[in-house]
């Protein structure tokens, strides 16, 4: 049996090395979201009206996504005897919880980046920031300490290596003909594999 530490730890019991700090993690997620949106949007003015729209959507997703982390989990307490203001606040909090803001931000930021001209290292850094943002969102949501992500670290490091390779490959002369088609087919296959991995096992 493994005993988890309770609120009152016994004398001599070691304190957890890295305690969960949901407030700090949520703040970090908010900052990362703001950074991602800004990074994808520069240079401003962006690429036309679509860019402006995507920037607005991404900004809204960043704000409401941070608000979602701040409001926390839904309470089971009855609302019957709440005053109208408290009831309205609960309803707004429910609406904020219902929308997947983080997913919206990821899509909006990537499309916004794609609207710009090709800038591989810029895109690579954006990808790394997005992974960091998603990790921060997960930590804030699950009220977990950063140490729980340690098993993911080697995989993320390998993925970032591939990201660097891809960004470097983008500087090579553009592929033409059959090699370009082969690359497109490989990317499409990878998309199918990701879809399959997303299905419940």
């Amino acid at each position: 049996m493994t005993r988890t530490r309770s609120a009152r730890t016994a004398p001599g019991d070691r304190a957890p090395r890295q305690a969960a700090r949901p407030g700090r993690t949520a703040a970090a997620a908010g900052l990362l979201a703001a950074g991602c949106v800004t990074w994808a949007a520069v240079p401003v003015p962006g690429p036309g009206a679509a860019g402006d729209l995507l920037l607005a959507v991404a900004s809204a997703c960043a704000v409401f996504g941070t608000a979602r982390l701040a409001v926390g989990h839904e309470s089971d307490e009855s609302r019957t005897f709440l005053d109208p203001v408290a009831r309205a606040a609960r309803t707004v909090a429910d609406l904020i919880r219902a929308v997947p803001w983080a997913e919206g931000l990821v899509v909006a930021v990537l499309v916004l980046e794609a609207l710009h001209r090709s800038r591989p290292w810029h895109t690579g850094l954006l990808g790394a920031a997005l992974i960091a943002y998603l990790s921060a969102v997960h930590l804030a949501e699950s009220r977990a300490a950063p140490a729980v992500l340690r098993p993911q670290a080697p995989l993320i490091a390998a993925g970032l290596g591939l990201l660097a390779l891809a960004a470097g490959a983008a500087y090579l002369p553009a592929a033409t003909g059959s090699s370009a088609d082969l690359m497109a087919v490989l990317a499409a296959l990878a998309a199918v594999v990701v879809g399959a991995l997303a299905l419940p096992a």
Binding site: A7, A114, G159, L163
Partner: protein
């Protein structure tokens, strides 16, 4: 320990990674820009490393650390989870009404080992039988991409009212002839000196007052007051749930009764309780620690929902054992129930010594228009009239707001004995 089935699904983190990977790959294909495929790489690698081997069921046991809880007391829910395998365990308590999770409401268990023991702190803020709520159990794999969810209903706990502070006691002038700790008017074998009288054969020689004997030339004897006990019947009017939850007249009445019971039982008085709520429940006067817990149990039982509506005149039909003649009757009531007011008048006319502690701490709320203001004024005048009529009958009435100690409002009646009427 019960077996609970787990519902497994990709975690929210995994869903977000899928979104990132799909969006990046689609853009990569559509724009033929390989750097976007690279953006998808970390997410794809993480998703590809997901493993199977998940337990379908786990064993969960939950019990409170203390069998008896008091309002506001910190307690812990001890939870044992068996069979999580190599998964981490997160516990989150979803409390029901009047239950507040303590600091760090969620607890996590380590992934290694056959099971996990965890303590979830909580606090019950109102007395009565309280349902603790639901415990959410989440198992996560090492990469936190798959989650197994289960929820179990937590047991109900009995929470006793938190006694208010009370040190002084109201003592009647006429006490039944039973040994106790209150000095009475009659002479006896107590410790309190009452006077000196002439020695008569048969008196105990050790009580001779030698100074007075020398002065008067005849044997003089010290006399002492007899020490008696008294019967105290507490009436808790828990029928009015007005005002803020946690400080309603019902809460105050129960806290006041708990304080009075503790104070009188400490000096070996016999204390009984009548709870007037969804029904009329009582416990006959008795002494000792066991009686104190009998009284608290009655308070908790009185707050359970259901039961027929009480008839206040049933108070006058209580058996003699529950309402012994000559008892001091302490009533904690907001005086909102007319039937109870009439019964108190009747008790007074039957010769009981009644003292009312008014615990009304709320007023009707409404808009600020003139009609509402007029209604509130009429309501206040009616309440004043009720209290005036009770005082005219000779029933002492004091106000208690639940914040101050009970000694303050009762001070005029605790400094000297309260004259009992016949």
């Amino acid at each position: 320990m019960r077996r609970v089935r787990l519902a497994w699904a990709p975690s929210a983190h995994a869903q977000r990674l899928v979104t990132l990977a799909l969006a990046a790959l689609i853009i990569a294909v559509a724009t033929r820009r390989p750097e976007f495929a690279g953006v998808a790489a970390p997410a794809v690698l993480l998703l590809a490393a997901r493993r199977g081997g998940r337990p379908g069921q786990i064993g969960v046991g939950a019990r409170t650390s203390s069998a008896r809880l008091t309002e506001g007391q910190d307690a812990e829910l001890d939870v044992t989870v068996t069979g999580p395998g190599q998964h981490s365990v997160d516990l989150i308590m979803h409390p029901r009404h009047a239950v507040v999770p303590g600091a760090g409401g969620a607890r996590r268990g380590a992934a290694d080992g056959p099971g996990v023991d965890a303590s979830v702190p909580f606090r019950v803020t109102r007395s009565g039988r309280r349902n603790l709520g639901v415990l959410g159990i989440t198992l996560r794999d090492r990469l936190r991409l798959t989650e197994g969810q289960a929820r179990i209903e937590l047991p109900a706990v009995d929470c006793y009212p938190r006694p208010a502070a009370q040190r002084s006691r109201v003592v009647l002038s006429r006490l039944p002839s039973r040994l106790g700790e209150h000095p009475s008017r009659s002479a006896g074998e107590g410790l309190e000196f009452t006077g000196v009288r002439e020695f008569v054969p048969g008196d105990r020689q050790r009580r001779i007052n030698w100074a007075a004997t020398t002065r008067l030339g005849r044997l003089q004897l010290n006399t002492f007051a007899a020490e008696r006990t008294q019967n105290v019947v507490l009436i808790a009017d828990a029928s009015s749930e007005v005002g803020d939850p946690g400080s309603t007249p019902s809460d105050l009445a129960l806290r006041g009764c708990a304080a009075a019971a503790r104070a009188y039982l400490a000096v070996r008085d016999r204390v009984g309780l009548v709870v007037y709520q969804n029904g009329l429940r009582w416990v006959s006067p008795g002494a000792g620690t066991r009686q104190y817990y009998r009284i608290l149990d009655l308070m908790v039982a009185g707050r359970s929902p259901g039961g027929p509506l009480a008839r206040a005149d049933a108070l006058s039909r209580l058996p003699r054992a529950a309402l012994p003649p000559g008892s001091l009757i302490l009533v904690f009531t907001p005086l909102l129930d007319r039937r109870l007011v009439e019964t108190l008048r009747d008790l007074r006319e039957r010769g009981f010594s009644v003292l009312i502690v008014d615990v009304l701490n709320a007023e009707p709320t409404g808009s600020s228009d003139s009609l509402s203001g007029l209604a509130r004024r009429i309501w206040r005048m009616e309440q004043d009239a009720i209290r005036f009529s009770l005082r005219q009958l000779g029933i002492p009435l004091v106000r208690w707001d639940g914040e101050q100690t009970l000694d303050e409002p009762l001070a005029p009646y605790t400094r000297r004995v309260m004259v009992s009427h016949r």
